[in-house]
């Protein structure tokens, strides 16, 4: 133990901060007298839970299937081994409700050609599934492609000596990719189950929405926790089941596949269709929003009108990213050195917490305490977003730490002339891509967040996401399209800037 403390003192401090960040609001909620009976859903809530599961499962399956075929298409296409093969990630950072808006806008535009389309009532499960599949498709496609590229090439080659490409794809490649596909599906399920922004737009009642409405109606924070418990348990089960997949992602595989699969016409056709959906996933928001805005002046007017809210959102995102770096890095380092399943579950726990509940917990914790002043500042929503999105940063940093060449770090330990030089010249450049990527992800998620910020935004300081979300309920308009396009442009600018920064040291360890 003494040895452990000596070598991992900073990690332990960071890990404790990590756990405190999500445990403190939960414990505060539990200390209040509430009604634990709410944890047992009544018939209406069973219905909501069923809706959540249906939406999550259908979205996850849709993303997994389309993502698999799209990845196979890209892997066997002309772009393999080129950086451009990741084109489908272009709009990944764009919040999902913007996809919802772009589909509404598409219906409106098509309605001008076929007026009968405008008379259709678009609500319920199906539109929710379509929009969520399109919004989360890049996650599953990326993981499927990584799974294909990191499989043991010798196994596929051995198969190709005796069977056709399709048989090798389904019999050898697919089982190897399965952990990646399942972890992608798990991620999509969790994101879908904790989000209420899209279901509320399509009037589809889900459990996450119930938590928000219950707190808004009765203001009893502890009851929100008991109410959320079935959802938390459901998500934890999904995280546990997909954990094996996550474990695979963390383990570095060095043999990059160069195998050529010659697929049948049918499989090629399905792959092309899947790639077509990935193209649509980018084109539909860009085209509909561009058409919806109408003119360049409208876009600039939207940017000017929402300038203050945009700055607030960027401030929240930046603070959230900075707040997560140390605890997420420490948690990743602990996961790398121990590989303990319980610790992995502990660090992934905030994934299971609906955003609204985290917001409510923080509100309850800080209200009435000597830190009450924080609730009036942007630090408050930033703290909530940091708590909610820390696991995503941790997952990226864990992957990065597993892939860093330990021998290079050991060489620096032995050969350094000073600790400062080893840190600045070797460790920092080696860790920088992971830290930047993790910070970028938290920043973008915080900018687009509705769940946490809805509960924690200080009075008079409305974040951009809330402004758009409020406008969205009045339907698609030029102004809303303009707002959404501004978000798309901000996300793209930050992502491109960060990629540029990373490419400057593209060939780093």
């Amino acid at each position: 133990m003494k040895q452990f403390l000596k070598y991992h003192k900073k990690q332990i401090i960071g890990g404790v901060i990590y756990v405190l960040l999500f445990a403190a609001p939960v414990v505060t909620l539990l200390l209040e007298a509430g009604n634990p009976g709410l944890a047992i859903p009544n018939s209406r809530r069973w219905g909501l839970l069923r809706n959540t599961i249906s939406l999550g499962v259908l979205t996850a399956i849709g993303c997994m299937l389309i993502g698999f075929y799209a990845a196979v298409g890209i892997f066997t296409g002309r772009l393999r081994e080129k950086s451009l093969r990741w084109w489908f990630l272009l709009l990944l950072p764009v919040p999902q409700y913007i996809y919802a808006l772009s589909w509404m806008e598409l219906v409106r535009l098509l309605g001008q050609i076929w007026p009968s389309l405008l008379r259709m009532q678009i609500f319920g499960l199906l539109p929710c599934v379509i929009v969520e599949v399109m919004a989360y498709l890049p996650i599953c496609t990326a993981l499927a492609l990584l799974g294909l590229e990191r499989q043991d090439v010798r196994l596929a080659e051995a198969g190709l000596l005796c069977r056709k490409g399709d048989a090798v794809l389904y019999g050898i490649c697919l089982p190897q990719m399965l952990p990646w596909l399942l972890s992608g599906a798990g991620c999509v399920f969790v994101l879908s189950a904790t989000d209420f922004s899209i279901p509320s737009l399509f009037q589809y009642n889900v459990y996450a929405m119930e938590l928000f409405s219950d707190f808004s109606a009765y203001g009893k924070a502890v009851n929100s926790f008991w109410l959320a418990l079935p959802l938390i348990i459901l998500i934890l089960i999904v995280v546990m089941l997909s954990q094996n997949g996550l474990q695979q992602i963390f383990v570095p595989v060095r043999s990059h596949s160069q195998v050529r699969l010659h697929l049948s016409g049918l499989t090629k056709g399905i792959c092309t269709a899947a790639i077509g959906l990935c193209v649509m996933q980018i084109l539909i928001p860009v085209v509909t929003l561009t058409v919806g805005i109408g003119s360049w002046e409208q876009l600039t007017a939207s940017a000017v009108l929402a300038g203050e809210e945009l700055m607030i959102s960027c401030g929240i995102g930046l603070m959230a990213a900075l707040l997560t770096i140390f605890p997420a890095f420490a948690a990743a380092a602990i996961l790398c050195s121990t590989g303990n399943r319980f610790l992995r579950m502990l660090f992934l726990f905030p994934l299971a917490m609906p955003g609204a509940l985290i917001g409510v917990g923080w509100l309850e914790l800080l209200n009435g305490s000597f830190l009450h002043g924080i609730t009036g500042t942007l630090l408050f929503p930033a703290l909530g977003c940091a708590t909610r999105f820390m696991p995503f940063g941790t997952m990226i940093l864990t992957g990065m730490l597993f892939r860093v060449d330990k021998k290079c770090l050991e060489a620096a330990e032995v050969l350094q002339s000073s600790k400062r030089k080893a840190f600045l010249a070797v460790k920092l450049p080696m860790f920088a891509p992971g830290i930047l990527a993790s910070g970028l992800l938290v920043f973008l998620l915080a900018i687009g967040d509705v769940g946490v910020t809805l509960m924690t935004a200080p009075p008079g300081k409305e974040p951009f996401s809330i402004k758009i979300y409020n406008y969205l309920h009045y339907g698609a308009s030029e102004m809303v399209s303009g707002f959404c396009m501004v978000v798309v442009l901000v996300c793209l600018t930050v992502t491109v800037a960060m990629i540029g920064l990373l490419r400057m040291r593209k060939h780093g360890n």
């Binding site: 330990e413 032995v414 050969l415 350094q416 010249a425 060939h507 780093g508």
Partner: protein
């Protein structure tokens, strides 16, 4: 300087990598540790370098316990993998731990060392732009440039053709002569005989 390793043991789960190993390295010794793969040779070097801790036993330097921090032990090491830092040039890799004062002097020292190892023209390249054999020589130059009193070589001459191996050994001999003791871990007996004066054999964690 006398490094005294007494009864050092190390196990990974149920597998004993080192079992009561004792060894003495005197000033300017050139010691070879021979053995098959998996016999515990590299573990011994990692423990000596301070990168791993022994389960039991002691390591002292002039009768005093060795420092815990690897960089305070006065040890340089060539790893089994070259472990070069890809984000730095070959020149920066070699000069990383070099104690020569003044940038110009240090660069000149690095250039001279690289020239003797036949890698001078690679100095401005990145490690991913050079071959495996060249990377190994860069790793050796990096360790020699540290000018530490104990040099640990973990299969340092493998992957080199005979002529290059001979030149590289001569350079290591020259730069360590009168300044450093050397411990060479290898499975190649000829290599050990041509480079070292004292020989040990490692078998299943035991040193004979």
């Amino acid at each position: 300087m006398v490094i005294d390793i007494q009864n050092v043991s190390k196990a990974y789960g149920n597998v004993k990598a080192l079992d009561g190993v004792s060894l003495q390295i005197k000033d300017l010794d050139r010691v070879a540790v021979l053995g098959e793969s998996g016999s515990g040779k590299s573990t011994l070097l990692h423990i000596l370098a301070g990168l791993q801790t022994a389960d039991s036993g002691s390591i002292t330097c002039d009768a005093k316990p060795l420092e815990n921090k690897p960089y305070k032990r006065g040890i340089a090491m060539v790893f089994q993998d070259p472990a070069l830092w890809n984000h730095m040039s070959v020149r920066a890799n070699i000069g990383f731990g070099c104690p020569v004062q003044g940038r110009k002097n240090r660069q000149e020292y690095v250039r001279k060392l690289a020239a003797e190892l036949g890698i001078e023209e690679l100095l401005n390249r990145r490690p991913y732009e050079i071959s495996g054999g060249q990377a190994r020589r860069v790793a050796i130059a990096r360790a020699l440039a540290c000018k530490r009193p104990l040099l640990l070589l973990d299969e340092a001459f493998s992957n080199l053709d005979e002529a290059t191996k001979k030149i590289t050994m001569d350079v290591v001999r020259k730069y360590s002569a009168g300044t450093a003791a050397v411990v060479l871990v290898t499975h190649d007996e000829r290599e050990a005989e041509s480079f070292c004066d004292t020989f040990y054999r490692m078998e299943k964690g035991h040193l004979t």
